[in-house]
């Protein structure tokens, strides 16, 4: 069975959000793009199992997320680098952080447990609903809600006053 044109077009269209999701998950632009590439290859190979008309973006996010965690498991056996999240990317060429305040947020994100980080990124940044995010992470909607809310409390604690001031400065 050949891959429908629509599938291909939608895949192309999803790339920007896949890259953003990948980057938010791993905090490293190069690694994020490798995740996206792997996701595209897997999506293509499994195109037949995708039901047209269902949520392709969520389906692709699920593939990327699975890929991310399977790579993490492999990596854990090598070197564990808990501070690596976002740190490496901060000084990458062409990606220098001009906004200092976002560094605080990135550092704060880096301290969250993986499940809470992905939850708040999916619901708070990617625009996924709780239900979609819950499907992507294969948990109940209630679990997703409580992860988001714990992530939020933690970020508030870490960022404290700064985020209020910043939101005013930015807005």
């Amino acid at each position: 069975m050949s891959v429908p044109n629509q599938f291909r077009e939608d895949l192309l269209e999803a790339i920007p959000s896949l890259r953003a999701f990948g980057y938010s998950l791993c905090g490293n632009a190069t690694r994020a793009d490798d995740l996206v590439q792997e996701t595209m290859v897997k999506a293509w190979a499994n195109a037949a199992s995708f039901q047209p008309g269902t949520n392709q973006r969520a389906w692709l996010f699920t593939i990327l997320r699975n890929e991310f965690y399977s790579q993490m498991r492999k990596k854990k056996r090598e070197v564990e680098d808990p501070d690596g999240y976002f740190e490496a990317s901060l000084f990458e060429k062409g990606r220098q952080e001009s906004h200092l305040e976002l560094q605080d947020m990135k550092r704060a994100l880096a301290t969250l447990p993986d499940d809470q980080r992905e939850a708040i990124i999916l619901v708070g940044a990617s625009g996924m609903s709780y239900e979609e995010a819950a499907n992507i992470c294969d948990v109940a909607t209630g679990t997703m809600k409580s992860r988001v809310s714990r992530a939020r409390s933690r970020l508030e604690e870490l960022l404290g006053d700064t985020s209020t001031e910043l939101s005013q400065a930015v807005g």
Partner: protein, 88 residues
């Protein structure tokens, strides 16, 4: 304190919700028991992420999402399509 936001349509826009953050220092301010109310899930969004945090998250995310798609990905799609042609 209970903050409820009526969200008419797209959930994607909830981070721009207009509720005022009055005491962001108090991490528990927005964790109201009301957030677990049942039913009506699709149209009432709990104010789980305060605007200030949601906005920063969006900026980190959007900075990448707004970048043009690198050529390697369209090239990859071409390659995948070609491989498929070859199989036939």
């Amino acid at each position: 304190m209970t903050v409820e936001i009526r969200q008419p349509a797209l959930q994607a826009s909830w981070v721009h919700a207009t509720h005022k953050i009055t005491s962001i220092n108090n991490g528990r301010t927005y964790m109201s028991d009301q957030s677990k109310k049942s039913g009506d899930k699709q149209c009432r969004i709990d104010p789980v992420v305060p605007e200030a945090i949601g906005r920063q998250l969006k900026r980190i995310y959007d900075r990448v999402a707004d970048e043009p798609v690198p050529d390697r990905f369209s090239a990859l799609l071409d390659q995948l399509a070609k491989q498929e042609q070859g199989k036939k």
